[in-house]
């Protein structure tokens, strides 16, 4: 795998990754946000965008999070935090919650990843050397949401690539990822045409800078924009 350092410019912080990912969430969508950076998207929705948030444990339509550690244990989200009651919410059980997911009724899910392959395979539930992991709702979401956005750091431990030719970690789902938003780039996985398209780079980062930190071969399709 590619390992580089000497970044040409600062990388985006986690909040900035979430903020960029939030820009791709379309008003009125039913959305499931994974834990970590994905969950932070909720703090950065563009004006006028309202989403219908779904959490695996059985809520649709929640919004504001209480501070972690406060709140009512019977009003939890799937990340173990406690949202507030919002008019228009609905509660349901896990059977219905996963019928919604598996039935393809979630418009977008934003998830974290350990690896994404050039054809959109996703690994995000187990590091092989640990030997044990947690799947939760990730396999159902990745396999069945209409759109899968990955929000993550581009590299790990120095400059080890996470966007790879083939995932070496156990898979979560095959050929599921549509878009990857990282601290240095926005990348589209164009599965239909078997291309990995670099759409945007962080300020100060060139195509070649991003390619050097990405194992999968990138292509441009028109101009490469700026994440700023």
């Amino acid at each position: 795998m590619t390992t580089l350092s000497n970044d040409p410019a600062p990388r985006l912080d986690r909040a900035a990754i979430a903020k960029r990912a939030a820009r791709d969430l379309v008003d009125g969508s039913t959305v499931n946000l994974g834990i970590g950076i994905p969950a932070m998207c909720a703090d950065f929705l563009p004006d006028g965008v309202e989403l219908l948030y779904h959490a695996e444990n059985g809520i649709l339509g929640f919004k504001e999070l209480s501070a972690p550690g406060e709140g009512d244990p019977n009003l939890m989200d799937a990340g173990g935090k406690f949202p507030k009651l919002v008019p228009g919410m609905a509660f349901f059980d896990s059977v219905e919650s996963f019928s919604l997911i598996r039935g393809g009724h979630i418009d977008v899910t934003v998830l974290g990843a350990l690896q994404v392959s050039r054809n959109g395979d996703l690994s995000n539930w187990m590091i092989p050397k640990r030997g044990i992991g947690s799947i939760g709702g990730a396999m159902d979401l990745a396999a069945n949401a209409k759109k899968v956005i990955i929000a993550m750091e581009h590299n790990v431990r120095g400059d080890l690539a996470k966007i790879v030719d083939e995932c070496t970690f156990p898979l979560t789902a095959r050929a599921c990822v549509d878009e990857v938003i990282t601290d240095i780039a926005v990348i589209e996985i164009d599965r239909k045409n078997d291309r990995v398209i670099l759409r945007e780079t962080a300020p100060g980062w060139s195509f070649d800078d991003v390619q050097a930190r990405t194992e999968a071969r990138l292509v441009a399709d028109g101009d490469v924009g700026s994440m700023a």
């Binding site: 939890m76 997911i101 992991g133 947690s134 799947i135």
Partner: protein, 220 residues
Amino acid sequence: MIGGFGGAGGQPTRLMLALRDLGVGDLTIIGNVAGISKTTGYGWPDHLDPIDQGMFFESGQATKITCSFPVPGTTNPLSDIEKAWREGNAEVDIVPQGTLIERIRAAGAGIPAFYTPTGVGTPVAEGKEHRDFDGRTYLMEEALSADFALIRAQKADTRGNLQYIGTSRAFNPAMATAAAVTIVEVDEIVEPGGIDPERVGTLSTYVDRIVVREAGDPLP
């Protein structure tokens, strides 16, 4: 089977403590997010000490768990389940959450097996029947039942109808249907009519025993 999602809400915590105190062994546990609250605080308000299914591995009573989320993302400190697993004292069967709840629902609904798109091409597909419908590949998954379901509801009527509140439903209603004996822990027991017929979350037919919390119980 132990109900809830993971976290304090919807978890039959008093029944779990009673099962631990009973000391019975060789247990196989079925749960969802399991055993991560004690080390991470997952799903528990800050001012409370979390209690989770890990206790049955700490006590040596359980030898196996089927669940979707048995270990937290970080390894330090190790959860009781990961500790037992590393020491070779626990078999851990990790199932995608949607497949797990649907297998439990299937057991209660008289469906021995169904096909799901979830898990195709991943380690959970190993050894399972693959089958194509309309050009997409699916896995066959079988029903999952249990001898006992320990579940949690807000209240029961004397017939055994249950009412849930908020996100405390989760795995409880399906588990109630899928066990030979279903035991429910409730805050309150009311006369028939004390639960709105439009709000019954589990039908009395599924409920075998009701245990009522003591008034003022500090556990959530």
